[in-house]
């Protein structure tokens, strides 16, 4: 595959160069352009206010006189932190929206490309270094829509931005106990530092370095000349022009057999009991997250409530079952990744009911299950499985009643799944 590209990637004759120069190729979608310049605005304000906020000797990034200037501009330092948080929240909101709606068409392919380092990219870095430092005439190896340097910087940004947002929210809204807020602070500063490292190269390359100049205008208009594309992003040019060489797909793995799954779960349950003394549990996650949300709005009411009251600690989320829920989500994503399954939005339903009916049924099922877990004080994983393993009476009764209820309902509503 690769040498085929190399053969076709020949230096251009002057005429071809002229011809390609005045033809335009669309590189960036308008949403990406907007997002880029929005990011620029955010990063400028956040860096200024952020750096101005950090004035202690042990943490300071910029010299004192600069922070005093910013202090002067904002009046009181309280305004600085308010601006910083306000802009941060807006930024996070926009990014999440972009990620949700732009997932399939933009984010997924871009991420896939960024984290897919090839030999060409490494060669590109070497040649770039020779060109800039040793001032040699170079011929770039064929690059995709993002060249090696841009991929490297994009990787840093892709990982560090969510980290910055998450730690930022923890700090701004006391989401976790002080001990973790302390960790959040240094991670936040470290992540910003990493991005800033890449930033100066990114700005120099785009703004001041002549050969890459056209890329800069590309980010304004969204179009670049075909020549620039051919010379700097040959693989992108080929894909755009000839629609070739999409990266190979890995075939998905099959599910485990139920017996192996049972034994695996048994071992996990054993380790849970051995390490912590508690069994597995899932319904607790929903109960405590609901309490945390309600508590955020009406802390007094929740604290005084006869049932919810004793779930309420100073940090309701700081609990075994809640973190088991986070772990569960992590485990699922990891499992999906290693099984090469594709993430796809879907609705599973029987043949003879419509999507809407299926959703309504799920909601009703959820309500009954949610309510039932409160009565029984647990769900399949905590009562049936964990309780069953230690033969707690309520566990076995719960399981038998579950099957009974289930078969009864299944018999009545067999129409939905047939």
């Amino acid at each position: 595959m690769r040498n085929e590209i190399l053969e076709q990637y020949l230096p251009l004759t002057p005429e071809e160069k002229e011809e390609l120069k005045n033809k335009k190729i669309k590189k960036h979608h308008v949403a990406t352009v907007f997002l880029h310049w929005f990011n620029l605005f955010v990063w400028i304000t956040e860096l200024i206010t952020g750096a101005a906020l950090i004035v202690s000797i042990n943490y300071r990034f910029i010299p004192k006189f600069l922070t005093d200037i910013v202090d002067g501009v904002y009046g009181t330092r309280a305004n600085i932190i308010k601006t910083h948080i306000f802009v941060g929240v807006i930024w996070a909101f926009v990014l999440i929206l972009y990620a949700l709606f732009g997932w399939r068409r933009y984010l997924k392919p871009t991420l896939k490309q960024i984290f897919f380092i090839t030999k060409d990219d490494i060669d590109w870095l070497k040649t770039k270094f020779e060109e800039v430092a040793l001032n040699k005439k170079v011929h770039y190896p064929p690059q995709d829509s993002y060249n090696g340097g841009q991929k490297l910087f994009a990787q840093v940004v892709a990982i560090m931005v969510p980290v910055i947002i998450v730690t930022g929210f923890i700090m701004a809204f006391h989401l976790l106990p002080p001990a973790l807020i302390r960790w959040a602070i240094i991670i936040h500063f470290g992540a910003v530092g990493l991005v800033v490292m890449g930033l100066s190269v990114h700005i120099y390359m785009a703004l001041l370095y002549p050969p890459e100049q056209e890329g800069f205008f590309g980010m304004i208009t969204g179009y670049i000349s075909e020549y620039f594309a051919y010379h700097h992003h040959y693989k992108f040019w080929r894909k755009k022009k000839k629609g070739l060489d999409a990266p190979p797909e890995l075939e998905p793995k099959k599910d485990w057999g139920p017996i192996f799954a049972g034994i695996f779960l048994g071992v996990v349950l054993f380790f849970s009991y051995y390490l912590t003394g508690f069994g597995l549990g899932a319904s607790g996650f929903f109960q405590r997250t609901l309490i945390a949300v309600l508590g955020a709005f009406a802390p007094e009411a929740v604290k005084a409530h006869p049932y919810m009251g004793h779930y309420w600690g100073v940090y309701p989320l700081w609990n075994f079952l809640v973190f088991m829920g986070f772990g569960l989500v992590g485990g699922t994503l990891a499992a999906m990744f290693f099984a090469h399954h594709k993430f796809r939005f879907r609705i599973e339903r029987g043949k003879n009911i419509t999507d809407i009916q299926r959703l309504v049924l799920s909601v009703i099922g959820g309500i009954i299950v949610g309510f039932a877990t409160r009565i029984a004080g647990g769900c399949t994983s905590s009562q049936a499985l964990s309780g069953g393993a230690v033969f707690s009476p309520s566990g076995w009764i719960f399981m038998l009643a579950l099957f009974a209820g289930g078969y009864l309902a299944a018999f009545i509503f067999r129409r939905f799944w047939k």
Binding site: P11, L53, I54, V55, S56, I57, N58, Y59, F61, T76, R77, A78, I81, K82, V132, A133, N135, K137, H139, M171, A172, H174, P178, A179, I181, R182, W183, A184, I185, I186, F189, G190, G193, L194, V196, M197, G198, S200, V201, I203, Y204, L208, Y209, P210, P211, H231, V314
Partner: protein, 244 residues
């Protein structure tokens, strides 16, 4: 300009804890959190003498307080006019670096406001009324005043000698709360509640690993780009043509 401090006369103090409650009433600190404390010591045997005293403590408003550099956003600072270490509630994000850094455990995180709370020598009452603990002390064991004003009560009391600070050779942030009293009492206090030099793991990692890495890294790329730009300028515009 002034530098406020306090002298606590351990000989006069009877350990009645009125100061703790006056402070709590004035500043509504929640449940069992107190900005000032009276820790009863003894009666214990201290080199062949019986000792029964009270460690009356609060924020010492040190000359170079370890808590101030520990706070990233400088929410806590030593007010230059009065020498009092204050906390700006709006800037504080309740991370607790300063709480960990204080050698006297004089700070705590208020669970209601989720921000740091500490003694501020009754800053809003300054100049009009004595701090609540000084005013209510039934044996006038606490004397508050300006250390730099030589004829203030506190300076006169300090001149009578036998005054100590709770500091050791190793840990001496320059506290401004002095203790007057029999040597055996002060020694018992320092022995039971020594000032500890404390540091948190994240702070250590930050100052020894992350910060140098970030500063060097960002510095390197910035300087690198600068030099590259220099090269670019002195060998004139690089035309597109000689590209091949």
């Amino acid at each position: 300009m002034a530098k406020y401090g306090m002298v606590i006369d351990l000989d006069r103090c009877v350990g009645c804890q009125a100061c703790m409650l006056a402070c709590k009433a004035q500043w509504q600190t929640p449940e069992d959190y107190f900005r000032t404390w009276v820790k009863h010591i003894g009666p214990i045997q201290h080199n062949d003498e019986l000792v029964l005293t009270s460690f009356v403590g609060q924020c010492n408003h040190c000359d170079n307080p370890p808590c101030v550099p520990a706070c990233p956003t400088q929410a806590t600072f030593k007010d230059t006019d009065t020498g009092i270490v204050l906390v700006n509630q709006e800037l504080c994000i309740g991370c607790g670096y300063c709480v960990e850094a204080c050698p006297y455990d004089a700070r705590f995180i208020n669970p209601v406001t989720q921000k740091v709370d500490k003694c501020d020598f009754c800053f809003p009452r300054l100049g009009r009324e004595e701090p609540a603990c000084v005013k209510t002390c039934i044996v006038s064991a606490k004397i508050f005043g300006d250390l730099e004003d030589s004829n203030s009560d506190i300076s006169k009391k300090l001149k009578t000698g036998n005054t100590f600070v709770i500091a050791t050779k190793k840990v001496n942030p320059g506290p401004n709360v002095y203790y007057k009293g029999r040597r055996k009492n002060v020694e018992a206090i320092i022995k039971t509640y020594p000032p500890k030099k404390k540091d948190t793991l994240p702070a250590k990692i930050w100052s020894n690993v992350l910060r140098p890495f970030v500063i060097l890294g960002a510095g390197a790329t910035f300087v690198g780009s600068l030099i590259a730009y220099m090269f670019q300028i002195n060998q004139g515009e690089k035309e597109e043509e000689n590209e091949e």
